[in-house]
Structures are given as C-alpha cells and as structure tokens.
C-alpha cells in the first residue's frame, strides 16, 4: 500500500467540510445545524461500517447480484408504451409536449 492509498482507509473521521462537499454533490441544501448533526451521525455510522475493511476479501470478486451475473437482453421490437400526455400530466411544468425547466444558460446580451 503506498501513501496515496492511506487516504482510502475507512475509519478516518469525516470533516464538516467534506460533509458540505457531499451535500453539494447530492444536490442538498443543508443548514449549519444540519451539517453539524450529519457530520456526527455520518462519523458514527462510517466507524461501524469500516469493520468491512478488516475482513480478507482477496479470494473473491465483488457481488452485485448474488444469484445470477448473466446480462439480460431482449429483442428490439416496437411495442406500445405509456401515453405521453399522461406522463406529462404529472410533470411540475410542461409545454408543447416537453418538460419545462428553469433557465439553464446565462442570457446572451
């Protein structure tokens, strides 16, 4: 294990700044109070979860589906799907058969 890998060792205390960074990545606006609470709680849970690093897993590869790792394909055949207007009727905002969102780009002068 070289020096860089040490940063990956679970069990290091997660900082308030890291928690704020994670919140930004997850698109969550957290208050100062929430940041304090989540920092403590995430540390407690991660401390417990870090136990997974103490088991030797060199003989196995990661399992995501424990029963069947086979890929599933189907024929590309056209079939009926859910009606567009029915789907759009549940959207917060829609226009001309499309989802409508707030501005994405700055206005050009």
């Amino acid at each position: 294990m070289d020096k860089d890998d040490l940063a990956d060792t679970p069990g290091n205390r997660i900082s308030r700044e890291q928690v704020a960074h994670i919140a930004r990545l997850a698109r969550l606006d957290l208050s100062d109070e929430e940041l304090d609470i989540y920092t403590d709680q995430l540390c407690a849970v991660l401390d417990h979860a870090a136990q997974v690093s103490s088991i030797d897993t060199s003989s196995v590869s990661a399992a995501s589906n424990p029963l069947s790792a086979a890929n599933v394909v189907r024929e590309d055949r056209p079939a009926a799907c859910i009606d567009r207007d029915e789907v759009l009727s549940m959207a917060p905002e829609a226009e001309d058969g499309m989802f409508k969102v707030p501005r994405i780009m700055e206005d050009e002068p």
Binding site: A7, D8, T9, P10, I14, Q18, V19, I22, A23, L25, A26, R27, L28, D29, L30, E34, Y38, Q41, L42, A44, V45, L46, H48, A49, A50, Q51, V52, S53, S54, I55, T57, V60, S61, A62, A63, S64, N65, P66, L67, S68, A70, V72, R74, I82, D83, E86, V87, M90, A91, P92, E93, F99, V101, P102, R103, I104
Partner: protein
Amino acid sequence: MRASAGDVSAQVRQGRVSATSITERYLEAIESFDGKLHAFLTVMAGYAVEQATRIDKLVEMGKDPGPLAGVPVAIKDNLCTRGILTTCASRILENWRPPYSATVVKKLERAGAVIVGKTNMDEFAMGSSTENSAFGVTRNPYDADRVPGGSSGGSAAAVASGLSVVALGSDTGGSIRQPAALCGVVGMKPTYGMVSRYGLVAFASSLDQIGPFGTTVEDVALIFSVIAGHDPRDSTSLKVRRDVDTGSLVLAPAGVAASGQEGTADAPDGPMLDEDAYIWPAGHSLLDGAIEGLRIGVLEEITSDAAPDVRRRVEEAAAALVSLGATVEEVSIPELHYALGAYYLIAPAEASSNLARYDGIRYGLRVDAEDVTSMMSRTRSGGFGSEVKRRIMLGTYALSAGYYDAYYGQAQRVRAVLVDAFAAVYRDYDVLIGATTPATAFGVGEKTGDPLAMYLSDVCTIPSNLAGHPAISVPFGAGDDGLPVGVQVLAPALGEPVMFRVAAAIESAARSLPPPPVCFADGMGVQSDMGDGHA
C-alpha cells in the same frame, strides 16, 4: 378470529358471501379503527367497491374470479397503483399518481384480490419503525406507545389488526420480516428475483424484494404463489420452474423463453413461473411434506445477542422441530459480523443513485428557483426527510472519488464472502432458524435520535438480503412484556418450499398470541365482537 385469505376466497367463489359485502365490512373497519393506528395513507374505497362488484358479477356468471376472490389486500405505498396516490410516505411524491401499476398489483387483481388501500411506511422504505413517514407514525396494534417496526409498518399493522386480510410490503434489509415479528404476523422475503419489481419504487436495487404479510403461513404461501414469476419488465426477475417430482424450484436454463419452449433436455418438466401462471394452484401444497429427517441449524449470529425472552422462543421452536424428527444443531457463520457494515454501505450507495431521479423535472415536488441547479437542490432539500437525506449523504460519500473501492467495492466483496459462507453451511443444513429481531417492539421515539441504534434493529434480517436468499418470520408467542416475538426461517436461494414447510411446523407449535387490543375480527361476519377491549 381474523379471517384468512383461503376462507374468504372459498366463500366468495362458492357464492356464500359477496365480495362487495366483505369489502364494505373492511372499509367500515378501517374507517372506525385506523384513527388509532394510522396504518393507511390512502383508503381506496370507491375503487375497492368497483373491483368487488366486478368479482361478484364473475361469480354470478359462473366464472372463477381466481384464488384470491374477494380477499381484501393492503399495499405498501411504494408500489405503483395507476391513477392512485403512490407517495412512498415522502413529501417529494405527495401528489404523485403513477401512470402504470406494479406487476404484483396486476397479478393480485387478476387473482381476484380487492385492494383496499395504500399503507404507511418509512419514507422511501428507509427505516425500521415507520417513524420516518412524512405523514405521521403508525402505532403497534398491541401497544400504541410502541412502533410497529418498519419500513413496511403500515402493512404489518393493517394485517395484525385485521383491517386487511393480507398485505404486500418490500424488504431491503428486513422491512417485511422485522415489522411482521413486532406486530405478531407472518412476513416473508422471497429469493432475490423471484417476484417482479416492476412498479416498486427503487431504494437499493441489489437488495429490494417484494413479499407478503398474512396471519398464517398458508396465507403468505398463497400470496407468494400468486405474485412470484418471471416478468420481462424486470431484468433481475428469474426464470424458475417447479420440478413436478420433487416439488423443488429450479432455475430454467438461460435462453429459454418464459412461456413456450417447454421440455428442453436440461429443463425438468413442470410449470414455469411466468406472468400468467401461478406456480402452485393453491398455497396448501407448499406446506406439505415431512419435517422428519430435515437438517436444521440454529444460527448463532442472529440469535445469541437477542434478548433472553426472544432467545427462549427460538429455543422452543427448535425443540418443536426436534420433536417432529428434525436434526437441530447450533451453527455459526462468523463472517456475518460484517453484514451490517456492508449493508449500510451498499444500501445507501444504491439509494443515493436511485434517488437522483427526484430532481423536480418529470414528476413530484418542484420548489422553484432562478436556475435549474438551485431548483433541484431546493426541491430535494424541501422534499426529502432527514433519514433519506442521511442515507443519500452516506451513499454519495461511499461512492465518491477516493472512497469508492474502500467502501462500496469492499462491501460488495464482503457480500461475496457472505454468499460463499452461507453456501458452505447449506451443504450441511436444509434451513437455518433464529430470531427475527433482537427484542420485541421498542417505544415510539426511543431510537429516532440515534441512527446507528435504529440500524442495529435490522441485524438479524440483513444477511438474507445480502445473500439474496428467502426468509420468513413466524409469530411465536410473546416476550416478557407480552409483545409479539418472531422466529425466523432462512433458506438458500429458491428454497421457498422447504422454508414454508418448516415455517408451518413452527407455526403449529407456537403458543398463539391473543389478537391485539385494536383488532377487527369480524371480516366474515361470523362473530360480532368488534375490537375487544375498545368499546
């Protein structure tokens, strides 16, 4: 006596009782009792009566409405019901009416069931007490100051209190079995892939599985037989066949279509589980077969740390199985000490990815803002509750650059180690038994301030989710506090038949618990004592 699904459907199919009258009785019972429990988020009164009327017409015409004819069913509110609110107990989906129904909902209706309502749950199924619902806590029917367990607490409470004959829940880390144990009913998690998840709002996709609640093992087996089977709309659903000679379930060879192509050289003959066929014509045959000669292990890691009164019930269940001729021994899988840690990395990681879709654009809540990024952040902060945010944060961290391999990658490798360890034990044992929960129902508010303490209440149920195995909780008397205790039966993948058989044997050996103080026991109109102890 609370009514059983088998009794209700038999009476309705024979035309002795109408589905409409049964449905109306249950709707009235929900109206009178659910104020005390809050098991339901949405009661589907008009819809239920329409369905019941349709079933009564079939009976009048001499047609068979199916094995669940007229049976009232409650559905966890993370299962899609077309045009009917499906909230996941979250503000972010408070007004969402899905444009399609889950496969399990369609299957129940095709079998003649009447869906009476959508049940309360921990928001997005994240929790063990139903206290994380955005719409208020559900009470345990045995003691209103205790939780019903979770996350499928509404479904468990509805069945325990007789407000529904059976119910569906989802189980990612114990969310069916734990509330079943705490409410004194039977709850089962099928083999991963056995039941289609099309229309189940995703939480942790490598762990989630839909399963039934009932007051008896027979009812749970009946519902399981109706909802199991391959579904092309769920790529993780298995193609499974029942071997007619042995009664066991076997995976169909890859490439064999769900219907047709029967009887290839490798495939044993027997009914295929597919969209339109039930594996078993009735639940009964699942419970047949002897206990004598079975090799049963009492799993130390899910039993020895349980409270003494819970442990005693497991020992009594083991003794009953010995008296029926099974060999029962203690068995240990030391690797299971790592299961909870692995689970609380894998489940939040997958949740953080699955819940990225709630961005205020296509459906659900939108909190407006100047630009699209602020709109998403405000929508998610306003729409998600604190436990959901905590899991999203945990998962985002576990998946973030520099930590992915140490956390998520390592957790998935630990999972592979657990699968191997289980496989080694199942070479010597047919099933394993143990506690479903470390203790009886805890108090409302007791663990809400300490997430880790809450997570520890899932320690007995999580191993089966990580391994993808089936497991069932069977009520087995009461603890020292008079509250229900559950005994769990674990089986290897596709081991449902032997699991049900052992569960039925444990059930018949159990001291039966009196029905809860809040209970509707008059579903069939046989008795008139509504709500013992609650005048």
